[in-house]
């Protein structure tokens, strides 16, 4: 059984000037085309994040149950069908074999923020994610 191994690796970091009161969400996605005559297997999806957002002059803001990691997913696209198959990180076990996949997209997501006066936001954060995808005969 011949296997073609594909890798998608994405790193993105975001830095804002301290003057801002709005931090935009990080929504990034990388795509590749795949051979729909082969069976596609997602072998691994992983994501890590560092840094974050600091609010100043913003008393009485208390985070409760705040997540500490960005979200990552792999979307699989099919010819003649609008719906995608979605797999989420972290995943370190092979997916089932999937037929008819024409493309894959590795996406990462982190929330955006805005703060009212007199608050200020300082931001530096980065996300690293990867996906390993096999195409099998």
């Amino acid at each position: 059984m011949a296997t073609t191994r594909r890798m998608l690796q994405l790193y993105v970091d975001q830095l804002s000037d301290e003057l801002v009161t709005e931090v935009f969400p990080l929504v990034e996605e990388v795509f590749i085309f795949l051979d729909p005559t082969k069976k596609t297997v997602i072998r691994e999806i992983s994501v890590e994040e560092f840094g974050g957002v600091v609010a100043s002059h913003a008393s009485q803001i208390v985070p409760i149950g705040w997540t500490d990691r960005a979200a990552a997913r792999v979307r699989l696209f099919f010819s003649g069908r609008r719906e995608t198959e979605i797999f989420y990180a972290p995943s370190h076990v092979e997916s089932p074999e999937i037929d008819g996949v024409v493309g894959a997209g590795l996406g990462v997501l982190e929330l955006g923020f805005s703060i009212g006066s007199p608050g200020k936001l300082a931001l530096t954060r980065g996300i690293a994610a990867h996906a390993y995808i096999d195409e099998r005969d």
Binding site: M7, L8, L15, E18, T21, E29
Partner: protein, 127 residues
Amino acid sequence: MIDVVVKGPGELTIGAVDAKGRLLLRKRIVVSGDPAVETRSQLPLTVQTRNGAVPVVPLLIQRKDARQHITFAGRDAPDFTAERCREIKVSTAMIDKASRTAAAALEHNEWPHLLIRPSATGGQRGR
């Protein structure tokens, strides 16, 4: 927001500069793996600051691999930047200077760092 599309792997840095030449947002994207990869990102046309909404110019600050093709809102990145400068009446020389400053800073600080400038009067603001 505008869509940013990058064709090919490599490292690039994009940003948003206001009319005073301040880099209000910087984003660095590194993609590796498959040579046919395509990346989608976004940049704002307006940023909220303490003084209200500020129009900004999206720009390409640095591209490590010249084979990468980058578009802003479906147009070549430098063309879009030049038109946005005309639209909000910002000099392209100022944008170029901001871009060079940001690129030079990247050479010295490969990893991002958090910038917080404490203000002696900031705590009293708005009271």
